[in-house]
């Protein structure tokens, strides 16, 4: 067990390292470097810099060094100081800005995961047991549409309906009076009242996908001989269903938890942006639109790191839950 744990840890570290290289490349992609944008900002403010000033700046920042040295510098600052760079947009360190908004993204992602499984598993089981019934067809139809509708369109439709029916904006996560208020039970309750809309928007297609896989997996199990044997042995239908086939069918569903997490994290920024949530979504997209690449790169890195760590943790949990799963 310990050996496998170490192996997975090493693998995770390697993946994170790869992600950091990808991130660094993304930051370097747009033409011009940090010094250029600095000069541009200064010029906007009416301060002109001489060529010598710019060269000095480049030298101080280490921008005249070869790329791999720059990468090592950048990496060591992240690892040693948690320093993700400086955001031009916000005129503050990137880690500070992201740190304020990251908790809400995590809350959103976890609530969505819980929502997806809580809704999808019962529906999937029901659809499989009542195959080709009216409700099975209904759920399948809804599932098809849920898979086909892009997140952002669903978000817009929700906001439009909210505006038409309730005459209020459903964007954001807090009522106006709670936005700057300190945390309290009332504020938490208010958050939950707002949170369900982005959760539904973000979770719909994943839920549809899970329903389909759960239904298919359970249908496969229900055909097997052990079910017939148990039924012939006189086990009550409900007890039989939950004691054997459902547990078997759950395995592939639960073991893809990491992919579902990746999927949620991938969709979260757009939903956050469209619905103007105070999480990392708008931050990320605005930084992209303004080519604030230090910020954007840091966000890509954090999103990737979240999914990698999440997958690692979910793998560990699964291994604890099901002794048959081998960590390889």
């Amino acid at each position: 067990m310990l050996k496998l744990l170490l192996y997975r840890l090493a693998y995770m570290a390697l993946t994170l390292l790869l992600v950091s290289v990808v991130t660094f490349v993304i930051i370097q992609l747009p033409p011009g470097d940090y010094a250029d944008s600095y000069v541009a900002k200064k010029a906007q403010a009416g301060v002109s810099m001489t060529r010598q000033d710019v060269e000095d700046l480049r030298h101080t920042l280490g921008l005249d060094r070869p790329l791999h040295e720059q990468y090592l510098r950048w990496m060591s600052r992240i690892v040693l100081h948690g320093d993700l760079g400086w955001s031009w947009e916000w005129r503050r360190p990137v880690s500070e800005v992201i740190g304020e908004r990251l908790p809400l993204t995590l809350v959103l992602a976890f609530s969505t995961l819980i929502f997806m499984y809580a809704v999808a598993l019962p529906i999937g089981i029901y659809s499989a047991v009542r195959q080709y019934s009216l409700s099975d067809h209904l759920f399948s139809g809804l599932g098809y549409i849920g898979l086909a509708i892009p997140n952002f369109l669903l978000a817009i439709i929700f906001m439009y309906l909210g505006q038409q029916w309730f005459g209020q904006s459903v964007g954001g996560l807090f009522s106006p009076r709670f936005i700057d208020a300190p945390w309290s039970w009332a504020k938490l309750w208010d958050l939950l009242g707002h949170l369900w809309i982005p959760v539904v928007v973000l979770g719909t297609s994943g839920t549809a996908y899970l329903v389909r896989s759960m239904r298919a997996a359970l249908l496969d199990e229900l055909e097997k001989m052990y079910v017939v044997a148990a039924r012939a042995g006189g086990l009550s239908p409900l007890r039989l269903l939950f004691k054997y086939p459902v547990r078997m069918a759950l395995n592939p569903i639960i073991s893809t938890l990491g992919w579902r997490l990746t999927y949620v994290i991938s969709g979260a920024p757009i939903v956050g942006y469209v619905m103007a949530l105070p999480d990392t979504g708008p931050l990320f997209l605005n930084s992209l639109m303004n080519q604030d690449m230090q910020m954007a790169g840091a966000m890509v890195f954090i999103f990737c790191a979240l999914t990698i760590i999440g997958t690692f943790v979910s793998d560990l949990l699964l291994a604890l839950l099901d002794p048959r799963i081998k960590l390889t």
Binding site: I145, L147, F152, L153, I156, G258, L285, L288, A296, V300
Partner: protein, 375 residues
């Protein structure tokens, strides 16, 4: 009198060959049983048809403005007028631009006293059809006025016509993206499956890595990093490539696993013993054996690329005007006030859903049909 005819020996009947259905015939037979899949294929065909002949089918050009109908709602086609009289020729009611007394916003009003009848094959704006010929004949148009089936946007451009042209770009991004992903997937998956060992291991780890990182933020960051001074065409090519670069992993896995499994089959051994070259074994025996699975994967990865392009363009980070896709059109629908005022701007979204549904249906049917020998 002659009896020769009767005595002529009958030609011996040829031994009847047993009816043989090729693999593709079997696949088609299975596929045909999926009604939804057939509907999906029909919708895809229709969408491709309209996007190929967009110039002729659309009553207006994609950038043509109608200053007399700005932000106008969709116009209904009638055959029975307000007095209950029936007209053999479909018509729309005339519109005039007025000003809303309260908001002072320019609003079109319906003028039920005047009718504009619709005619087929009317002359309109001149266009060049794929650079082949020039013409000004459009499939339909309104006599003496204008017709906007899906309304107009804030510049007075016809949403219906733009939708047809947008389908062309959106679908082409999907097709080109899938084609590039197909080449990448087959080559990389082929290498992994053919060589095996260390190379296989490395490629599989790479695929696992790509699959484990959230793709949309990566796509967004890559497209945001494109130089700002690129023209719309360069951006189009770049975006398509970016989408394909992440989309090949499924295909590569399929190719690899099928290659590994088929390599050990007896018919491959037989072909080898019969002296077939490697190229002939791959091209004549291996490739046809898993082609159907590849087509399934292609069909399934199409919606993914389509949705990704739509999301990127909707956010303003993908394609830009004057290249227009469904996503570019939806860019106008970003804020809630615009939608509350003109909900018809969401119509391109319906087409995205329709296209994705069609491909998902077709993909499901293909998946079941891909292996016609399964029970």
């Amino acid at each position: 009198m002659t009896i020769t005819t009767a005595l002529q020996p009958r030609r011996p009947a040829r031994p009847r060959r047993p009816d043989v259905a090729t693999q593709w015939q079997l696949i088609w037979r299975r596929f045909r049983r999926h009604r939804l899949a057939l509907v999906g294929v029909a919708i895809i065909g229709l969408l491709v048809f309209t996007s190929v002949f967009a110039e002729v089918l659309a009553p207006y050009g994609p950038l043509q403005r109608n200053p007399r109908y700005i932000n106008g709602p969709p116009m209904l086609v009638h055959m029975i007028d307000a007095d209950g009289a029936f007209h053999a020729r479909p018509f729309v009611y005339a519109r005039t631009m007025g000003r809303d007394a309260v908001t002072l916003r320019a609003t079109p009003t319906v003028d039920e006293a005047n009718r504009w009848s619709l005619r087929f094959f009317v002359r309109g704006t001149e266009y060049s059809f794929w650079g082949l010929f020039r013409s000004d004949i459009h499939l339909f148009g309104a006599e003496g006025g204008f017709v906007h089936l899906f309304g107009t946007d804030d510049l007075g451009r016809d949403v219906f016509s733009r939708n047809l042209f947008a389908a062309r770009i959106s679908l082409s991004v999907g097709f080109i993206g899938v084609a590039v992903a197909f080449v990448l997937g087959t080559v990389i998956g082929g290498i992994a499956g053919y060589f095996g060992g260390l190379i296989d291991n490395l490629i599989m780890r790479l695929i696992e890595f790509i699959r484990s990182i959230p793709t949309l933020p990566l796509w967004l960051a890559l497209s945001a990093a494109l130089p700002r001074d690129w023209n719309a065409l360069q951006v189009y090519v770049a975006i398509t490539l970016i989408l394909a670069l992440v989309g090949w992993t499924w295909l590569a896995r399929t190719v690899r696993s099928k290659l590994l499994a088929l390599r050990e089959e007896e018919f491959v051994m037989a072909a080898r013993l019969a002296g077939c070259s490697d190229a002939r074994i791959i091209g004549r025996h291996l490739l046809p054996a898993f082609m159907s699975y590849l087509i399934v994967d292609l069909t399934i990865s199409f919606p993914e690329i389509l949705l990704a392009e739509t999301s990127l363009s909707f956010l303003g980070l993908g394609l830009r005007e004057p290249v227009e896709s469904w996503g570019v059109m939806l860019y106008a629908a970003q804020n809630v006030r615009a939608i509350a005022h003109s909900p018809w701007l969401l119509i391109p979204g319906l087409f995205v859903i329709l296209a994705v549904l069609a491909f998902n249906f077709a993909g499901d049917g293909l998946r079941d049909a891909a292996d016609p020998y399964a029970k």
